[in-house]
Each structure stands twice: as structure tokens, then as C-alpha cells.
């Protein structure tokens, strides 16, 4: 079983090109995701992270030498079959007035035949199992749009799990969440990745969260992949500076040993260059004195 899983990647892209209208936004993306991978797509705004995710989700047409999901050509797969192999959690979940339970049950839609219903016993038990696992079971009768942002995200991930996919696509799952919810959501995703051997591909803005959770990173710039590998290999000062056009300092997280990226402000750079370490208070005072002197 292990061998087969290793032989057929969950997702394989070879030289994928795509764009909106006439402008190309993605050039020659090559990417392989295997079972158990936890891959993060990072890069500056406009680098094409979300565009790539949209192509993989099937929302945007793309040209590629090879584009295979679970070993089958993506373009020739039925929408239902795609949904059985891949679940998508988008950033904006504009879910209407639907109870958590009903929404989670929708994850079984790809398995439904034309005339059958959704609420058979197996589906219900599966939904119950995953709702308990993610901890949304307690508010299963509440409407999704009445929950907090973090809870909505958990509900969306639960729905994705009920699809029983091989690959979970996430578009910035931690956007607009506080640090506690960020960690809660990503811990949960990591747990799923490890327990269910589920392949995860997520777009993430926060470099430190990416470094902390992902096993593999993809750094994008101008629609191309400019670096890929483990967080340690990708998040070097040189590569980050090149991609983001911003200077950073990188150290190690003392607990996990993963890289940690510090942003560097202009003042800090100036101070470093002049080798002067002025305490914050004094500096403010000097500026104040300068202003009052005029």
C-alpha cells in the first residue's frame, strides 16, 4: 500500500501556465504532492499564490504538460470525482443561513447519485465523527454565519473532511484570526495531516506560521516558483529578500528549530548601518527636540 501511495502522487503539475485574459499570471509551475505532504505556498502579494490554488481547484482554466489528480488527468475528471479526491476551503466562506450540521453534510454531495438523498446513516455517522473530531459538534444546530471567524473556518474544514479527500486545499486558513485561533486551526490541520496521512496544500501569508507547520514550502515570485524545499532551505535571508524586496533577519525558533523571520524596519536598518544603538525613548526625544527647535 505504502509503495503504491509513493508511486502515484496525489497531485502532479508539470509546466502549468495560466492567466486572466491575455496576461499570464503563472509560468511553468511544476509541483508534486504526495500523501502526507504538508506544503505551504508563500510569496509576496500578486505573486500568483491564489491563482495557482484556483487552477488546482479547477476554478481557472490552465495549460499544462501534465496535470494529474490521484493519477488521473484532471481535465477529463468529472466534477464529482474531483471532489472525492480534493476538498477546497476558500478564504471567504460566505455561507448563508445554514446549520452547521446541514453544511457539514454537504461534504457528502460528491458521493450522491442522482436520485438518492444525503441523509443516509453512513453519511450521518461520518459527519458526526468529523464534527466531534474538530469540536464543532457542540454547535451543530447553530447557523454557520452566526459563528465567529475561527469557528466558521473549523466548520469549513470539517465539511472538507467529510468529503474524505486525498488532498486538502486551503486558501489562507488563518487570515483575520487572532494568534490563538491561528494556532488552533493549524494544529488541527497538522493533526489531520499526520493521523489521516492527508496531503495538505495551503496558501499562507505568515512566513513564521508557514515555517512552523509546513514540511515543504514553495516560494513564488511573479508567477514562478523561485525556491522550494524544506522551510530551512527556502527561508534564507537572501531568498526572502529577493522575493519580497524587503530585508529580514532569520533566526531559529528555540522550541521547534524551525526558521523564524523577523521583519526589519527602516529605522532598525539605519541604526545597524551606523552601528549606533539608541534606546527607543532617547530617539523619540531627539526627534521631538528637533521639531521643537524649528
Amino acid at each position: 500500500m505504502e509503495d503504491i501511495n509513493n508511486a502515484v502522487p496525489v497531485l502532479q503539475l508539470k509546466k502549468l501556465t495560466a492567466g486572466y485574459g491575455n496576461a499570464f499570471r503563472l509560468k511553468d509551475i511544476t509541483l508534486t504532492i504526495r500523501q502526507g505532504d504538508f506544503t505551504g505556498i508563500i510569496g509576496p502579494n500578486g505573486a500568483g499564490k491564489t491563482t495557482l490554488l484556483k487552477c488546482i481547484a479547477g476554478d481557472l482554466p490552465a495549460c499544462a504538460e501534465a496535470f494529474q489528480l490521484a493519477g488521473k488527468p484532471f481535465n477529463r475528471m468529472h466534477l464529482k470525482e474531483r471532489a472525492r479526491h480534493m476538498a477546497v476551503v476558500t478564504q471567504k466562506n460566505d455561507i448563508g443561513f445554514i446549520t452547521v450540521e446541514d453544511y457539514v453534510m454537504m461534504g457528502r454531495l460528491p458521493y450522491r447519485s442522482l436520485l438518492s438523498g444525503l441523509s443516509c446513516v453512513e453519511n450521518k455517522q461520518l459527519a458526526e465523527k468529523y464534527m466531534k473530531k474538530s469540536g464543532v459538534w457542540a454547535y451543530r444546530h447553530q447557523a454557520v454565519n452566526e459563528l465567529s471567524g475561527g469557528e466558521q473556518q473549523l466548520v469549513a474544514i470539517t465539511r472538507a473532511l467529510v468529503q474524505e479527500p486525498d488532498l486538502l486545499l486551503l486558501d489562507e486558513p488563518t487570515a483575520h484570526l487572532d494568534i490563538a485561533h491561528q494556532v488552533q486551526i493549524l494544529d488541527f490541520i497538522q493533526q489531520l495531516n499526520e493521523e489521516l496521512n492527508l496531503a495538505v496544500l495551503m496558501v499562507v501569508h505568515d512566513l513564521n506560521l508557514a515555517a512552523e507547520y509546513c514540511t515543504q514550502l514553495l516560494l513564488m515570485q511573479n508567477g514562478e516558483v523561485c525556491a522550494e524545499g524544506t522551510p530551512g532551505e527556502v527561508l534564507t535571508r537572501h531568498q526572502v529578500k529577493e522575493a519580497y524586496k524587503t530585508d529580514v533577519t532569520i533566526t531559529e525558533n528555540p522550541l521547534s528549530g524551525r526558521p523564524f523571520v523577523f521583519p526589519v524596519s527602516r529605522n532598525a536598518t539605519n541604526n545597524r548601518n551606523t552601528k549606533k544603538k539608541i534606546p527607543h525613548q532617547t530617539e523619540n526625544k531627539t526627534i521631538y527636540e528637533k521639531i521643537t527647535a524649528h
Binding site: R84, G96, M106, L109, P110, E128, Q163
Partner: protein
């Protein structure tokens, strides 16, 4: 833990069976309401027949006079009211579902305008005198189909259906047809004008039995086809892309359902004229009463639409006996007031 587990599963199933019981209760209550409305509608009017005697009259076909009035005059009209009421309500529900917009109704998209245009042209050219009375509904069909074709060519034919552009196309076509309608009215003779105006107010007084059959078949057919798409409609509540991610072929769903809604509206308008408000009001009230799950909402809206139009028509033809009011007057007055009253009663905003 292992002892607890089966109990938990069964309690989970229990909550769901109570859910199913709730659904069945709502549908049975609505069906009972429809039967009551039909009985009252049969009893009231030209010949007041007691509600209790109606089953007896139908069983024994006696007395002949009463039986004839019931079966030849009142029943066909009630069947038409049920078909058109159900069809308009269904059409409104479908369009609100695929556009994800609570303000859309069958008439927003210009389909009724097209039918009205066809009918007015036929009335102005006096086709009913040269071809026969069937010419009027046929002109209505033709007009409605022409509009459906135009909307299809403008926005539905493309590979990826753009919902906003479909809506805009429909609204623009609606403006064009109403302007053309005014042009025709300005150009037509005064004696034809009365016919046009009266037709645009809607009437269920339709003598041709096979037109009533067409309306009934379209209506029930539309309900059956739409019921194949209840899960797709539920998924579309999440938005077009999330529904696609769940394996729903959204483009096909929107195309098929749009054509079904257009046919339902086109046939209704051609047979019964412009009867406003059913398609907007009934789905809204049903959403409030039953929630937004299309598995329940679909049959509930259909039955409620049938009840609403049958009741409105009964009022329209009995309130100023022996004369008749146009049924559109009643649906608008009754519906508008009910709508406002509900709105101020629980000001929660509409939920799609």
C-alpha cells in the same frame, strides 16, 4: 465509552427523525390547506353549494345542474389556478436560488414582458377574429420564447455562466419590452386597448380545456425536474465556486433551471396573463416558515403558491358578484399587505 457510543448514535438519529416529522407535518398541513381552499372555492361563486355536499355531488353526479357547474366551470378554473400559482411560485423560487438574490422574480427577467408583447401584438392585429381565440395564448408563448432565446444567446450560451450579467440582461430586456408595450398601446385603437389592459391585469377565466392541460402538465413537469436539482440548489446557497468544489456542475444546473423557470413563467403568462407577486411573495413567506432547505422549500412553495392563487381567484370572482375583479388586483393587494405586515412584525432581514 463503548457503551455510550450506540446510545449517542441513536439519539443523533432521533433528532433527525424529528426533523423529518417536522417536514412531513408542514407538507401535510399545506396539502390540507390546499384541499380546504379548493373546497371553499368550489362552494362559493355563481351557485353557492354547501361544502359538505360537494363530495356527494361528485360521487353521484347528481343533481346534474350542480355537477355541471362544478365540473365544467369551477373545477377547470381551480386546476388552472393551482397550476399557475404553483408554477409562478416555483419559478420565483428557482430564480432567487440561482441568482442568490431575494428580489428576483419571474417578471424581473422580461419573460412576462415578452409574453405580454406577443399578446398585445395579437390583440392589436385582431388575430383572435381571424385565427381564433387560441391565437392569444400562442402569441404569448411566442413572445416568451423569443425573450428566453435572446437571454440565452446573450449570456447563457457561454461556457461559464455569469450570473450578474444574466440578471442585467434580463432587467434590460424587461425595460425594452415594457417600452415596446407602451408603444403598441399608444398606437392601438381604443376598443383594443381595453382588451390589452384587462389582459395585463391577469385572469384565470380560460375556456380552452387543452390550454389548461398544457398549464397543468408544464407546472407538474417543472416541479419534477426541479426536484432533481434540490441538492444542487442547496449547494448553490454557498456560492457558485464552493458548489463546484462539491462536485456540482453549476453551469449546467443554472442553465437547466433557468430554462425550466422561463417555461413555467412563459406558459403561465400566456394562459393567464400577468399575475404579479406570487413569484416574489410566496417563496419569501415559505423561507420564513420552513427555512431555506430546498428539499422542503420546493414542494412547500409549490403548494403554497397554488393555495395563494386559488384563494385570490376565489376572492376576485366572488367579491363583486356577478362581476369579476382581475386576479392580479387581489394578489397584489393581499400579497403586498401581508408582506409589509410580516416585515414589520419580525424585522430580521431576508435569508437566502
Amino acid at each position: 465509552m463503548k457503551v455510550l457510543h450506540p446510545a449517542k448514535v441513536s439519539s443523533f438519529n432521533m433528532t433527525n427523525t424529528t426533523g423529518h416529522i417536522r417536514w412531513m407535518t408542514i407538507l401535510l398541513l399545506l396539502l390540507a390547506g390546499l384541499v380546504l381552499t379548493v373546497l371553499f372555492s368550489l362552494s362559493l361563486g355563481i351557485e353557492n353549494i354547501s361544502v359538505w355536499q360537494i363530495p356527494k355531488i361528485f360521487l353521484h353526479q347528481q343533481p346534474v345542474m350542480d355537477y355541471q357547474i362544478l365540473s365544467k366551470l369551477k373545477l377547470p378554473r381551480i386546476i388552472l389556478a393551482i397550476s399557475v400559482g404553483g408554477a409562478l411560485s416555483l419559478s420565483g423560487l428557482i430564480l432567487q436560488g440561482i441568482y442568490r438574490n431575494p428580489l428576483v422574480e419571474p417578471y424581473t427577467l422580461g419573460i412576462s414582458g415578452g409574453a405580454a408583447l406577443g399578446v398585445c401584438l395579437a390583440l392589436m392585429l385582431r388575430l383572435q377574429a381571424s385565427v381564433g381565440s387560441v391565437a392569444i395564448p400562442f402569441a404569448g408563448f411566442a413572445g416568451a420564447f423569443l425573450i428566453i432565446l435572446i437571454i440565452y444567446l446573450f449570456s447563457l450560451r457561454k461556457g461559464n455562466v455569469q450570473i450578474t450579467s444574466m440578471l442585467l440582461t434580463g432587467v434590460m430586456i424587461s425595460f425594452i419590452t415594457s417600452s415596446l408595450l407602451m408603444l403598441i398601446m399608444a398606437l392601438s385603437r381604443i376598443e383594443d386597448l381595453h382588451g390589452i389592459v384587462f389582459w395585463t391585469m391577469g385572469s384565470l377565466d380560460e375556456p380552452s380545456p387543452w390550454l389548461i392541460t398544457i398549464a397543468a402538465v408544464t407546472s407538474v413537469g417543472g416541479l419534477l425536474i426541479t426536484s432533481l436539482f434540490v441538492h444542487s440548489l442547496n449547494a448553490l446557497r454557498l456560492g457558485k465556486e464552493p458548489a463546484r468544489h462539491l462536485g456540482i456542475n453549476t453551469n449546467r444546473t443554472i442553465r437547466v433551471l433557468f430554462i425550466v423557470a422561463s417555461l413555467l413563467t412563459g406558459v403561465s403568462v400566456a394562459v393567464a396573463g400577468v399575475i404579479g407577486f406570487v413569484g416574489l411573495l410566496v417563496p419569501h413567506i415559505m423561507r420564513r416558515l420552513t427555512g431555506s432547505d430546498y428539499r422542503l422549500l420546493l414542494p412547500a412553495s409549490f403548494i403554497a403558491g397554488a393555495i395563494y392563487l386559488t384563494a385570490s381567484d376565489t376572492i376576485a370572482r366572488t367579491i363583486i358578484q356577478p362581476n369579476e375583479l382581475p386576479v392580479g388586483v387581489i394578489t397584489g393587494l393581499l400579497g403586498g399587505s401581508l408582506f409589509l405586515w410580516l416585515q414589520q412584525k419580525e424585522n430580521k432581514g431576508w435569508k437566502i
